[in-house]
Symmetry: D2
Subunit: 381 residues, 4 copies
């Protein structure tokens, strides 16, 4: 009850940003974190305008992250954490600078723009001992936490097969040429890195496989395509996976799946049953039992695991969504920040998962280019 409210500074999220206000809402939803500062834009005027729209003090809307870190450190009430919601190419420097300045960091995925950066950031996390987490938002959904708990408790038996898909259609046309800012930076290797759809949504899917199954993917075969003519990065990506217990996996993502919205689905089968979860109905987890009955469990239900119950704010039958899922991650982060970084229970996705995501991108791009069978995913390889 008497827990201190954590103060947050944001980097990115300037005027017109979609993701800045979402993070603001999620961070503040449960009253444990409050946005008080930000370097919202490289333009001082835009940063001030954004700060005004977020209701923060004028002198805490900074024009760049280094100024924010320096000036906040001098305040009696400095920020406790830095939220990074900028394009991929800037993640590394901001996260590194913030942690070296003593601040905790919560960052949009992917961790960095390259695997090398990710490995370097891993060193920074270790050296500084700061809390570092990635907002893999889907891991915040209660029913995926329930799925994870079911697998941990052995309900599915040995995991044998995983299928994850993430289909969007919004890049079926060359949106990056039409002034769509979201599409522009994603389609630009200088800002996105070497991965297109695999970096944008593939790492979400990959992270979910590992988060929910509790397994690590060790090998892959990749089929990446730049389907829309002229596009410089992949917009369609399928991977065959092998997990560390021998289970087989399929990871299929696309951003040229015309007419699809945001179709994320995860299915995992063990020798005792299977689970099925779709983002379209995030509050339901289907458990297909080996005896032939399909069970549907709902968010907010009393019979869920503790981890899943903790992720709902409302009684069963009252939908919660994406913002609430992200708020759960901010809540885990607040827990970690209060306890000095002990992440607790593995719910929070940190630099290890960040490095794995970057390794996935690097290995998939290489494998697709070579087109010669299986490659290892090992980040250190």
């Amino acid at each position: 009850m008497s827990e201190r409210v954590l103060r947050m500074g944001m980097v990115g999220g300037g005027p017109g940003s979609f993701i800045g206000p979402v993070h603001r809402r999620a961070a503040e939803l449960d009253g444990r974190i409050r946005l008080v500062a930000g370097a919202f834009s490289r333009s001082p005027e835009k940063s001030k305008a954004a700060g005004l729209s977020y209701g923060i003090a004028e002198d805490r809307a900074y024009a760049d992250h280094r100024t924010m870190l320096a000036l906040e450190a001098l305040r009696p009430d400095p920020i406790d954490l830095v939220a990074i919601v900028t394009p991929n190419d800037t993640h590394f420097a901001i996260a590194r600078d913030a942690m070296q300045a003593g601040f905790n960091v919560i960052s949009d995925k992917p961790a960095t723009a390259t695997l090398d950066e990710a490995l370097a950031l891993e060193q920074v996390v270790r050296a500084t001992g700061r809390c570092y987490a990635l907002t893999y938002t889907y891991t915040g959904y209660p029913m995926l936490r329930e799925a994870r708990a079911l697998i941990r408790s052995g309900t599915l038996g040995k995991v044998r097969k995983v299928a994850v898909e993430y289909f969007q259609g919004w890049l079926a046309d060359p949106e990056e040429l039409s002034g769509n800012k979201q599409a522009e930076w994603r389609a630009d290797p200088a800002r996105s890195g070497i991965g297109g759809s695999i970096a944008d949504i593939g790492v979400h899917a990959f992270n979910l496989v590992e988060f929910v199954s509790g397994l690590r993917a060790t090998r892959l075969q990749a089929d990446l395509g730049n389907v829309v003519p002229g596009r410089l990065l992949d917009d369609d990506c399928t991977l065959l996976l092998r997990l560390d217990n021998g289970a087989r996996g399929i990871l299929a993502v696309s951003q040229i799946a015309t007419g699809e919205r945001n179709g994320l689905r995860l299915r995992i089968w063990g020798d005792h049953g299977g689970i099925d979860w779709c983002h379209e109905r995030p509050d339901i987890l289907t458990l297909n039992r080996a005896d032939g009955i399909s069970e549907q469990r709902h968010a907010g239900w009393n019979g869920l695991s503790a981890a899943a119950r903790a992720g709902s704010r409302l009684p069963v039958g009252h939908p919660e969504g994406f913002i609430e899922a992200l708020a759960n991650i901010y809540g885990d982060f607040a827990n970690a920040a209060h306890t000095g970084g002990a992440a607790g229970d593995g719910l929070l996705q940190g630099i290890e998962e960040g490095v794995r995501g970057m390794a996935l991108i690097a290995r998939a791009v290489e494998n697709n280019r070579a087109a010669s069978g299986w490659s290892t995913i090992d980040p250190a390889a």
Copy 2:
């Protein structure tokens, strides 16, 4: 951008309350309203404890609503609005006192505990000129606003038939005897009034019919039952309705529908098509066209009506839920408060709808008792 943040005081929502934190989250979600005061409990200690949990100043956690109104009025930064989240029997006095003290009021439904109170409150609203709104949360869902817009624009043609259902199972057992506080006050005529399920969820369903169809219900036949032995108020309720354009309606609600969660569904058929919306998937509206094709429209889609688009914070495919729907109502209320009460576009449900809800309860209980054909719903009758 430079809009002033409105300050809110809450009545109710003390320790252990479910609904208080939900309203706090919804009111603050978009950064336009901030909870700064409250009379959270009749116990001064509990009110302070709740205030602390909400992060508000100690001296603004009051022990009763009258003290709050009096002391806030003396501050240089008084509250702008009062949110009422108490049991039904207290709504009237709090709303009346608040408006008479010059504050705007946003209140949980039903408006009051009796029709007479509602009619009296209507006079207070008129006399004071304050903004008064009810948090009929479902009216905040973007796809119900889309349904309303489709009907207004004539897409369905003349409305002929309406079917609304709201099925819950949580009162299938005598929960009110087991220490469940939510069940206790709802099952207690002294705190709930003469209606049980009809007052708790029936008025929601009724309000949706009128909100979405743009029609008024004029007559009813009612079948109310106290199904669980010993229960003093109805826990199951079906109404036959007639709307003012001659359309027929069915309103079916139950709280003893074992195994149901919160199954609200609205269907409306005109001579050119029908719409179908379920709370289980609030981001979808199905339009069953007369030519035989079923269309699904999704929240966040660019092609929606302005009213529906304004209700989404995220792109299509990213679920939003109950808190976001309630936040839309708080947003409409903020609009009304800033513009001095001009409610704009009829989205906000005010005292007229509050009176109608109370008339529905009164007429249904009378009709059920008499069991003699059709009754008028007219509040003035």
Copy 3:
């Protein structure tokens, strides 16, 4: 194995008929019955043409049912049963004549055109001792048989509430004026009787309530409307029901629900759980358990009741539909015919259910006209 194949004569089902070929397919599906004769049309030429299309011998395509009955009786290989697929006004005479001539009868619903006829037919059934059954097709779906078995076995506990709905949109326009033969006779009181939608689909819904719940409806309040201007019979019908154990019911049917196809849904709640079945996915039965889990059971699953298992021809996951459901009823009829009329297990819907359906129509029309509270449904009243 060595069971004799039953020979069937059909009355109705002439050229252009939809329902004749459906009954032919269903009757013959399992190889236990074979269509060998018919009075397919009152026109001798049309009857012959239809007979040819069914592949039956030319001399067994008769011009009226009396000739068929008379001539078949003289053959060494006469028909065993008569299937009646004509408009409602002819059911009584054909069924009576057939049974009095010693033949078993399987008839489309409703049993007759009036309650008086139904009561008279009941006498004929008793007097002749023939097998008589109605093709209430929905009772043939395996998962409704599973629902019935679950209720019989006490899985739901005491039934408290029933909701059945049947929404179609195909009569949203005055189809009867556009040359649609299906619409013409249904909208014509001379051929349909006093009920429109209630006789066409309402009795299906009513029969399902009683079939699955094992209860009898005792009282009703009715709201019948002739919604399409100029229509002589009801095209929209809602009933409030009371069952003989005190349970409450809602029966809602409409044929002006624009854009709906054939939306039959049955839900029943007991104090231990609820079941939910939709015709759109006939191979699934949802059991909403009191503990909060929703179970889905599928047709063809080994764990189903014997009655449900017997209704599937294919393994789980292979859809069966309307023809197969009707074939199950023909199968039950074959069983009854072979065993001399012992209907076995109550699956077959006979003259008692036929009389109840006609009583429903009569009482609903009366109650709607009087608009004065509850009426008894008792056929004998």
Copy 4:
């Protein structure tokens, strides 16, 4: 109308067979084909018993297919076609013998046990000029025919991506060791050939991709697993595909997906829209339009393509299933037989598709073993 009813002889389908009665029902459903003879089992007694259960004359239940072919040829009313429903290893010889004896052949898939046999059978088809078709049952579903028509008419634009999945769980345990005859022959390389799940269900999925898209798959990467310990053939199979217009494909099938029933789903995306079809709801085709609206079209709807309309026997809203889909293929076969083999419209899947299926199996097994990037699928390679 006066079309002659075709006479069918069946090979396989003996006592206890599941598939024999299904084919009998489907073949006879529309009254155009009649089962009159069969070599149902290698045991003369069992063949006679089965014949009796099918209601055919005792002297037309033969003990082997050669005898059937020889004796039927001598009759004045010989069979017109031979239906083959035996395990894979016998398909080739029966089909070859039947066609060489002058009979038309309709065979269960896969065409043969090896690619070499399939290529040899292709020569027989050409040499004899007989009608030869495979019962790829799913191609008979009206809404897949609608999908095919939509793609042909350009509604989706250029096909870019295909995803087909077929998940079953019934072989999650070593059923072949428990006396399950269906599992035994499928798990036995001597009877099944070199493919397990890929031959049993993978070729169905592959065929659907080509049937609906109108494209040919040219290359693959394969990941086949024998997941259940001790199993000799693959029970899990994922393929990456490339189609002849450059489109990418994913084919994922499994028989160890615990708790799944028969989960076949096909999605195809073009640059103008996408289609989505699931076997769980075979009467619905979803068209995800590029403008963001999802359309659902239903079997039996008047607005469907001619090919789809012809595949329904009932009005919209009346479910048809697997038997009806198979009946559509028998209907196409009857058309082809009556017109002397001109298959019409490409609906019927013949020896070319049979050869392609066998090539798929061969290439996938080779590619999986080599694990070295892409392989060509060309049957002639």
